[in-house]
């Protein structure tokens, strides 16, 4: 309640003494009565104001409590923002970790492929089995559908196919180990891989075949090229060579020559190796 309204509630004190002492006594009596009434009214008003103050204080306390609650809410909201940010950071870390795990798994699988390939290549001295293993490696690990293994012939002036898969060996050319003016179709890339000692890859896989090998990988023994793997065609689902394929080719180039040469030497010296 405003101060003006409080004044209106308290009636004004009026002294009436227009007729002498008697009248004055009566007026005093009236004055005291009015004074008592005024005091009573003031007391009531005071009590009412105290109640109002108490009410306002209670409201104030409530508002302070609410304000404190708002602060807690704001603190909580800020914490939620922080947690949300942390969650996003953790999600990013999780994604990176998952990608890393996948890459490690892929690397592990590729290392396993290399290990298995080397293990199989050197698991026998039987020439037929060595050639079968190389063929399976090319088929399984590289995705080759048609390929041939060329090996240096006695005298060293030519490379001849000693094994093939998917294509008839009789239809494949013998490749001279010296450059010739007009080599038979498909022989040029094999010749180049042999002479340079570096693998050759044809990026136009769909256009490749017996007359145009998709990959020619030199087989090396102590740094000397003794043969060439010629891949003519890939499986339908194999669309391109990967870095892992090239690593497998590198491993094959290093190990296949040793395995073939060892089996050939064993065959010439001892004959067929004993079978369990």
């Amino acid at each position: 309640m405003t101060e003006k309204k409080s004044r209106e509630r308290v009636r004004p004190l009026v002294i009436e003494d227009e007729g002498g002492t008697g009248t004055r006594d009566s007026s005093l009596s009236t004055l005291f009565r009015q004074g008592e009434e005024l005091a009573s009214q003031l007391q009531e008003e005071g009590e009412r104001l105290r109640a109002r103050v108490a009410e306002l204080e209670a409201t104030n306390v409530a508002l302070r409590g609410q304000l404190a609650g708002d602060r807690s809410l704001q603190t909580a909201l800020r914490r939620i923002d922080q947690l949300e940010q942390e969650r996003e950071e953790l999600a990013a870390v999780s994604t990176r970790t998952f990608a890393l795990c996948s890459a490690v798994e892929a690397d592990l699988a590729n290392m396993a492929n290399l290990y298995i390939a080397a293990d199989q290549l050197h698991s026998t001295l039987d020439l037929a089995r060595v050639l079968t293993h190389i063929s399976e490696l090319l088929e399984q690990f590289v995705g080759s559908r048609e390929h041939a293994l060329y090996y240096l012939q006695d005298g060293g002036d030519a490379l001849a196919p000693i094994a093939s898969h998917g294509v008839g060996r009789e239809g494949l050319p013998v490749v001279a180990t010296r450059p010739v003016a007009e080599p038979p179709p498909g022989a040029r890339a094999i010749e180049q891989a042999f002479l340079t000692g570096a693998p050759l890859f044809d990026s136009e896989i769909a256009a490749c075949g017996v007359d145009r090998p998709v990959a020619c990988v030199p087989l090396k023994l102590d740094g000397r090229t003794v043969g060439v793997i010629a891949v003519y065609r890939l499986l339908d689902q194999k669309e391109a060579f990967t870095a892992n394929d090239r690593e497998l080719f590198r491993m094959l180039g290093a190990h296949a020559a040793t395995a073939i040469t060892g089996a050939l030497l064993w065959l010439r010296a001892v004959g067929d190796p004993p079978h369990p």
Binding site: E105, D119, Q120, E139, D236
Partner: protein, 128 residues
């Protein structure tokens, strides 16, 4: 179903078997049995209960498709998941294997993570 799963790998190529066994060894609680061909596979199936079978298609003596057919007529293993592995990627081969009762089809060159994922999916294995 117990926590340990029996897996039968039917593959005539030792190299491919080694590759598959390596891949499967990455999954916990798998007990792997190897068979050289379809007939050897049937022999192993008669001797034990398997939770999943992986088989090559092109094998001597009995190929993978005949093995799938025989397994589906075997009361013990008629519901056992079968994954067929082959070099052939054509839709016809895939359809033929699935019609005979294979549950999945993987073409060579196989990738170890792919084999692991398919086996875990068919065995309802979660995690590593």
């Amino acid at each position: 179903m117990s926590d340990e799963y029996n897996v039968l790998v039917v593959e005539d190529s030792p190299m491919m078997r080694q590759l598959l066994v390596f891949a499967l060894s990455r999954v916990k609680n798998l007990r792997i049995t190897e068979a050289d061909d379809g007939v050897d596979g049937l022999r192993k199936l008669a001797a034990a209960r398997f939770d999943i079978i992986l088989t090559d298609i092109n094998m001597p003596i009995m190929d993978g498709l005949k093995l799938v057919k025989r397994v589906r007529s075997d009361p013990t293993h008629k519901d056992t998941p079968i994954i067929v592995i082959t070099t052939e990627g054509s839709a016809e081969d895939r359809q033929r294997a699935m019609q005979l009762g294979a549950n999945a089809y993987i073409t060579k060159p196989i990738q170890a993570p792919q084999v692991i994922a398919k086996v875990k999916e068919l065995l309802h294995i979660e995690g590593v």
